[in-house]
C-alpha cells in the first residue's frame, strides 16, 4: 500500500474534498487532491491510495538526472 506512483492531473473536480482525474500512462483514476492545493492540470503528482501526497518538482527531476549523467563510465568498469 506504500507504493506511490507519479501521474499527470487531467482535470480538477469540485469537493469536498477536492478531487481530480489523474492519468497514469493511459489509465485514469479519481484522486483526492486536498493535499496538493497548488497542483494544476498538467502537473505530475505522486499518488498513494487515491491521494496525491506530493507535486513532482520538474526542475529537481531534471537536476537529479543531470547529476547522474555527469558520472563517467559505463559497461567496461562494471563487467570487470
Amino acid at each position: 500500500m506504500c507504493l506511490g506512483i507519479p501521474g499527470r492531473i487531467v482535470e480538477l473536480a469540485e469537493g469536498p474534498p477536492p478531487m481530480g482525474v489523474v492519468d497514469f500512462d493511459g489509465v485514469r483514476r479519481q484522486v483526492c487532491l486536498a493535499y496538493t492545493p497548488e497542483a494544476r492540470p498538467g502537473d505530475y503528482v505522486i499518488v498513494h491510495v487515491g491521494f496525491a501526497i506530493s507535486r513532482v518538482d520538474e526542475e529537481e527531476a531534471v537536476r537529479t538526472l543531470a547529476v547522474i549523467r555527469a558520472i563517467p563510465g559505463g559497461m567496461d568498469e562494471v563487467s570487470g
Binding site: C2, P6, C32, A34, G50, S54, A61, R63, P72
Partner: protein, 379 residues
Amino acid sequence: MKYLDEYRDPDLARRLVAEIRAVVTRPWSVMEVCGGQTHTIVRQGIDELIPVRMIHGPGCPVCVTPLEMVDRALEIAARPEVVFTSYGDMLRVPGTTADLLALKARGADVRVVYSPLESVRLAREHPDRQVVFFAVGFETTAPANAMAVLRGAEEGLANFSVLVSHVLVPPAMTAILDSSGNEVQAFLAAGHVCAVMGWTEYEPLAERYRVPIVVTGFEPLDLLEGVLMAVRQLEEGRFEVENQYARAVRRGGNPTALQTIRRVFRVSDRAWRGIGVIPRSGLELTAEFAAFDAAARFGVADVTAREHPACIAGEILRGTRLPTDCVAYGTLCTPRHPLGAPMVSAEGTCAAFHNAGRAAFHNAGALGPGTQRSQGGPR
C-alpha cells in the same frame, strides 16, 4: 512513462554501480527502510551488483501489523451488520485461525477499497450497515486515512468507524539503532514517508547515532544514487540527512497533509508484529474523533494472539536474518500459503525473495548451509 522510465535507464545505472565500486573501500552495511525499495533492490538484483551489504528494513505496513490486530479485524468482520473494508494487501495476512479472505469466502462482507474515501461512500450509501475501515500503514497512508475520518465526521456518518493500526518510521529506526546486535551503518529513508513528513525528525537521529540518512526514491537509479550518497558520507566520516528524492520531497514535508494528520491522530505506543511494543511509535485517534474507533465500538480492544512457532518474521523485520535462513521459507511458507506477514505483502521481504526466485539455503543442496546474509564485501 514520465518520471519512471528515465529513472530506470540501464546505462546510467551502470555508471552509478561503477561509481559506488570506485568510492567504497570497506564493506559498509546500509539499510533500506521501505519494503517498496526492498522489492526494487531484490527484483533488479541491485544488492548483488554493488560491494555494499544491503540490510532489508521493517518498512512494510502489512508485515508489522500485529497478529492481535488482524484477529480484531476478523472478529469485527465476522459480525453480520458489518461491511469490513481494507486495502487489498491486508486480506491474506494470516490471523490466528483465518484471514480476511477466508472469512469473506464463508460469507462475511469484506471489501477491498483502493482509497479509504470509498469506505466513506459505502457508509453514506448503506446507512443500515456498520462500515469499518482497517486504517493501517506508515506515514504514507496517514493523510488518506485521516481524511476518511474527517469526512465521516463532517458528513455525520454514525455508521462509519476505523480500526487503527498506524505505525511511524523514525521510532523503528531508533529501535534498530538501539538494539545490541545492530549492524546498520547508514539508512536509505523511505521517500514517500518523507514526502508527507519531511525529514526534520531524522536530523537529531543522524547526529545522535552518527549515522548517515539519505531520503531516497523507489526507482533503480534513485536507489543506486541513494546508496552512493550514503557510502560517500561513510567514507568521508560524515553523518548528515541528505535528500536524493528532491523531485518529490521537501524538508518540511507536506504541510497541508500534516495539519489534517495532527488533527485526527495523536502519537501513541504501538505493538509491531515480531518486534513488540515501541514507545511513541504509532498513531491513535485524538479525543475529537474517538467516537470513530472501531476497536471500542465493537469491544475487541482486549483480543490477544500468538504467532506460528516456525515463523521468524520478527528477525526478518529487524534485518538480523534473511528469508533464506528460515526453515519454513519456500516449503511450509509460500505466497499462496503464507505463515507470516512478510510472505503475504507485495512489500514484504520474504515475498520479494520468493518472487525473485531466491532459493533457501537449506533447499539449495550443494550451496547450503548459508551464511547470515546473502552478500558481503567487495568481490
